[in-house]
Symmetry: C2
Subunit: 122 residues, 2 copies
């Protein structure tokens, strides 16, 4: 049996555990945590990790959607690592927790574009 409090195994993690997982920068500094994951209903693919920065960089409590592939899971620290600078976060797509946008293609394109990524075709 795995530690049931962890709700995490060697390769898989429970959705209710992803929420709250710490996110670090490559220097190992804590940036914030994952508020929730946006999942494709049909394929089951996680497309965005939605981050909260908890006031770091003076960013307040807005939520920032990050394309999933920007995150790397680090088993050593038990969290995700993302290479994000203050500059990248200035003007990054964000929203108050209670005002989730529609996440339509136009929104997706704006998020990917901000981080210099190509919006995938599904």
């Amino acid at each position: 049996m795995a530690d049931t409090l962890d709700r995490e195994t060697h390769r898989l993690i429970s959705s209710d555990k992803v929420e709250g997982t710490t996110v670090y920068n490559p220097e190992g500094e804590k940036l914030g945590s994952i508020a929730n994951v946006m999942i494709d209903k049909r394929s089951g693919k996680s497309e965005y990790a939605v981050m909260e920065f908890g006031g770091l960089f003076g960013l307040g409590s807005d939520q920032y959607p990050l394309p999933w592939d920007m995150l790397t899971y680090d088993t050593e620290v038990g969290g995700y690592v993302v290479n994000l600078s203050k500059e990248q976060l200035d003007g990054a797509p964000r929203y108050p927790r209670e005002q989730m946008p529609a996440y339509d293609d136009a929104y997706g394109r704006s998020v990917y574009s901000h981080y210099g990524l190509t919006y995938p075709v599904y």
Copy 2:
């Protein structure tokens, strides 16, 4: 803006919304609901939907992991449809909520095998 209470868009759904989504059989009868999703930490792929049957079939409150591809999202009913018979659920892998198994390869194989599916290689 999407309905913020829904936390659901045309194609994506928030992880905290998947938890609780109703699961129907092909006849449109409510079977139960999704307790949580087991997600690959690295790829972000949802590998299992863990179902609770809420006493239907006299199955009690155990949790049943189902390979994600067994589920089909039905936008009309706003839930997942899965073709499951009482017979398939007899002897199906299950566990009490607070005793999540390790979800290692051996366990994964036993789940896939029970439903007549080939365990995928990652």
